[in-house]
Amino acid sequence: MKDENLEILLVEDSIADQRLFEILLKPTNLSVNELWISSTLNKALEQLNHNKIDIVLLDLSLPDSSGFDGLKTIKQLHPNIPIVILTGLDDKKIATKAISLGAQDYIYKGDYSSSLIEKAILYAVHRHTIHYEVTQMNKLLDSYVYSVSHDLRGPVINLRLLINLYHETQGTPEQPDILKHMEASILKLNLILDNLNDVLVEKKSLNDVSYVNFDEVFREVTKSLNQEIEETNAVITSDFSCAEGIGFTRSQIYSVMYNLIYNAIKYRKPEVPPEVNVSTKSEDSFIHLLIQDNGLGIEPKYHEKIFDMFYRNNTSSEGKGIGLHIVKTVSENSGGYVKVESQLNEGSIFKVCLKDKLYGKVEASVLN
């Protein structure tokens, strides 16, 4: 949450009130980088376009706007910046109206004090951040529901049609074929459900932290990918000498390694046996897990998109589309990140940066 180095924009036409605000802001504990002051709405909009403002304090009566027009305009153009209303009228109706129009708070100038200003700014910034996060979460959820319903649609429609066909072909040699296709559709549905469960489990097991040995997990992963490795003559190597382990949730490390190695094999170049190297690097409390392959590579324009939930590479339709999203969620939840370095036909390097949750406590936990 951003409450340091604040860029504050005060929109106020009275010179006296501007001065008063400045004086009262000084002794607060707020970490203010810059206080911008505009005396009209138009100047304020200019400031908002040119500077990265964290919060707006807006007087309701300005030379070029009156009432709630200014609030509405700023809210519309900059929906992601919190606004606190300043007014000379101590009127509850105005306060309620301002909040209902999207303002975070309301300060009556007659009550002006350092502590009031400090509290209003701090709370407004925090509340707004939370609100923003919830909105983002909702958007993610929407797109998630959308993807799931889309994925379920295909096999369900097919099953319905197959059942009709089954009845129509009663007693003909075609019937067993139809049953086979029904089975295939059900398997597909099952796969979608399994993936959904993966997502749910991912969210539940967040707190289960222990010391995880990379080599152990690596062996497990390559064992479960045995079939894929044999079929493609893949060569999977590892080097965990720089960082042998990490304080983390074991199942998440497994999931990250599994998905990235699986992808490296899956998106191999035709006729070229995949070569995958898994290694680690350590940097303070962060551990970097690197997965390098000699596969198809990814065009730079897709480097962000591949981590989206249910994104599918064009060249494959069997992909679950959530593997890389899980990798992203895991790394970001820990305070790290994931990125890919790749060019088409040049192979890829996935770098997963994970925050060691037992950093500074590792030895103790190993001893235990």
Partner: protein
């Protein structure tokens, strides 16, 4: 009205193909159906038989491995410039995607006549034939 000599179905899902083949074959005007599991196979076949085969209709899925629907459309558009008879082949997208972007993108290709959401029913198929084949008087 002449018969539809060959309908091409291009879809990677065997269950979809099975059902769609049944539906298409159930139409009295259809003589034969050919199935391809990805765009690449279809393109290989089409370019091999440029002069000795008549395609009456192509039904194309969007999401496929190796060469997806859009990549197919790009290559097919090029081919149809070299071989003008292909330019008259009606091409209909048959998609399970409900994303409006996919539909919009499909219609940016000149060769695309229609965009049909799955499932393909006999009724829909009959309408496709009426709207896009006989309406142009090519038979």
């Amino acid at each position: 009205m002449g018969k539809l000599k060959q309908v091409f179905l291009i879809d990677d899902d065997p269950v979809n193909n099975f059902i769609n083949e049944k539906t298409v074959k159930a139409h009295p005007l259809v003589q034969d159906v050919k199935i391809f599991y990805n765009g690449e196979d279809a393109i290989t076949h089409i370019s091999k038989h440029l002069f000795d085969e008549e395609i009456s209709l192509i039904m194309l899925d969007v999401n496929m491995p190796r060469m997806d629907g859009f990549q197919f459309l790009t290559v097919f558009t090029k081919l149809s410039k070299e071989q003008p008879t292909l330019a008259h082949v009606p091409l209909v997208m048959l998609s399970s995607s409900v994303r409006p972007e996919d539909k919009q993108k499909s219609f940016t290709y000149e060769v695309v006549r229609d965009y049909i959401p799955k499932p393909l029913t006999l009724d829909t198929f009959d309408k496709i034939i009426k709207n896009h084949i006989y309406a142009f008087g090519s038979y």
